[in-house]
Symmetry: C2
């Protein structure tokens, strides 16, 4: 490997003092523009790397943000990450990413790595089975800002970025009821996670307000995979009293459920009206097109990264913010329109 | 912010020498296991962070791998990243990610940031309009390994990880010809990019070998977006002689093209047989299900990260490897089966 180029090498090559080179590279106003240009260009040609490492060591900043997500391989999460990267990049922060693969054990290990990598802040959406957040206490104790998004855990010193999941669950269910549904199956994920617990709350509220009784047998807690959707379809077919509505908290899972129901001869929405969640592009491909909740993933990524960076720059203190709620909304398409 | 905990603090707390603490934390064989456990646990409780920064500065390693991709927000790229993260994480490397948003200008800026962040190696899939790779020369000159994947640029000192795009283009086209197609439209991306240029080569080869003439008017160079798919459908409808086959090098673009064609009353595959590319989940949702080329994204991510890490660990030298080609293959579904 080549020897690392220093400002001394550049100074020697150009016959300037090291102090002049250093000032030029730091855009000091006392240095003439043409001198700056010459020094910058020479530094580039020689392969000089600003000693970010050493200067980070001095000021205890790494200009990196850690991100821990359940899965990288999901349409929703990739839109969130795209939003985070855009904002981080513009503010000269690097993004270090890690996936828990839905396991708290791996989440603990990721948190430790992020801590040792000295990230300036951390953005987290928790795994399927995370119960406590002891593994993030080291960040909180050290004053390293921690922000939860989507799947959040309430903590006095952390901000959470969410949509109003209760309202979204309510809207989806109320819409099905307004279309004439009376037996609505709800397929969802782990009720330990705020997103699913809140959507179920919304489902129950809508039933109650419309005078329908809540039946536990109609709620299916799954991992929301495509297989779970297919399995839900089989369970629906086996029910003695056929449901006439279906609210699934994930579009891909809803689509695979619809596919099995359709193969079995059921007509959507006439026999069963369906609402999904996320507004994943697949919702506009399945036939009939899927009614769903629009979840602004890219916007959530942008707001999460921006809030963290603002905190780091001192222009907003996330310790006083408890919760940031983004807009979401029902997108009505043909899969739910019994009355059309 | 709290004061940083050092090995001296841990030594003082436990009444051990700093040397013993340091050895215990580095898993030195001379230290008893129960002593190691006590020291490690105390370090954890006190919020000690191994001084990775300082030790990285000494050994000139950061244990980070940089990744530059055209877009984070794509199903294919999210599977690639999931594979990279899995391998990197297991080998204790962090992944720093950046997206060029298909612009060479942003790619140049990302490369510079990665260089200044002192990544140990770089994995790149180039932007739509990248022509030269001068912006990566600084890595090559410094002996920092650079690996291209998917959209690659040939370089003597770099390895490229690809599928056999020419063969894939050939297979897709030959399949359509075997189904009776004689006028096959090809919708693709920038021919500056190997992936699209090679697929076109395969398309031309298949036509030639089957005695069909190549017509430039049937090849549409687009950005492969959903809008491009809709636009291609309109151009197909406006053609004086109606095409009977369609090969689109991206599933989502193929699907949006199919949707417009279907709305216009064309029947797939009877009127026009369609083949996509990537085996994106959406290919199994659109009706009829889309014949496509299976592109092993997660596997590509794993191989790319593993090759780079092996090189860094000295167990494989990527400078002698020119090209790693992964298996891909045609997945036949209903959208192309005219003869069924």
């Amino acid at each position: 490997m080549e020897k690392e180029i220093t400002i001394y090498d550049i100074a020697k090559r150009l016959n300037y003092s090291p102090a002049t080179v250093s000032r030029a590279l730091n855009d000091h106003p006392a240095i003439r523009i043409d001198t700056k240009d010459l020094i910058t260009e020479t530094a580039r040609q020689m392969g000089y790397r600003s000693n970010m490492f050493a200067s980070n060591l001095r000021r205890q900043r790494t200009n990196t943000i850690g991100v821990i997500v359940p899965r990288l391989n999901s349409n929703f999460m990739s839109t969130v990450l795209a939003g985070m990267e855009k904002v981080a990049n513009e503010a000269s922060y690097n993004l270090i990413i890690s996936q828990s693969l839905e396991s708290v054990k791996k989440e603990v290990a990721s948190a430790r790595t992020m801590f040792n990598s000295r990230v300036d802040g951390l953005l987290v959406s928790v795994a399927y089975d995370t119960e406590k957040i002891d593994h993030f206490e080291t960040f909180i104790n050290k004053g390293i800002p921690l922000l939860f998004f989507d799947r959040v855990i309430d903590h006095d010193q952390c901000t959470s970025i969410v949509i109003d999941n209760t309202k979204a669950g309510y809207d989806a269910t109320a819409h099905l009821i307004e279309q004439g549904c009376e037996r609505i199956v709800h397929v969802t994920g782990s009720l330990q996670r705020n997103v699913y617990a809140d959507r179920l709350k919304g489902y129950r509220l809508a039933l109650m307000e419309h005078g329908l009784s809540y039946k536990e047998a109609l709620v299916m807690v799954t991992d929301l995979s495509q297989e779970a959707g297919q399995d839900a379809a089989r369970r629906i077919q086996a029910m003695p009293e056929r449901p006439d509505g279906l609210f699934v908290t994930n579009d891909f899972c809803a689509v695979s459920c619809m596919q099995v129901l359709k193969q079995a001869g059921l007509v959507v929405p006439t026999d069963i009206a369906v609402v999904g969640f996320n507004n994943d592009p697949v919702s506009q491909v399945v036939e009939p097109n899927l009614t769903t909740i629009n979840y602004p993933g890219e916007k959530m990524g942008e707001i999460a990264a921006q809030s963290l960076i603002n905190h780091l720059n001192g222009s907003m203190n996330i310790e006083v913010t408890n919760r940031i709620v983004l807009h979401s909304g029902l997108v009505v398409r043909k899969s739910s329109l019994k009355k059309a």
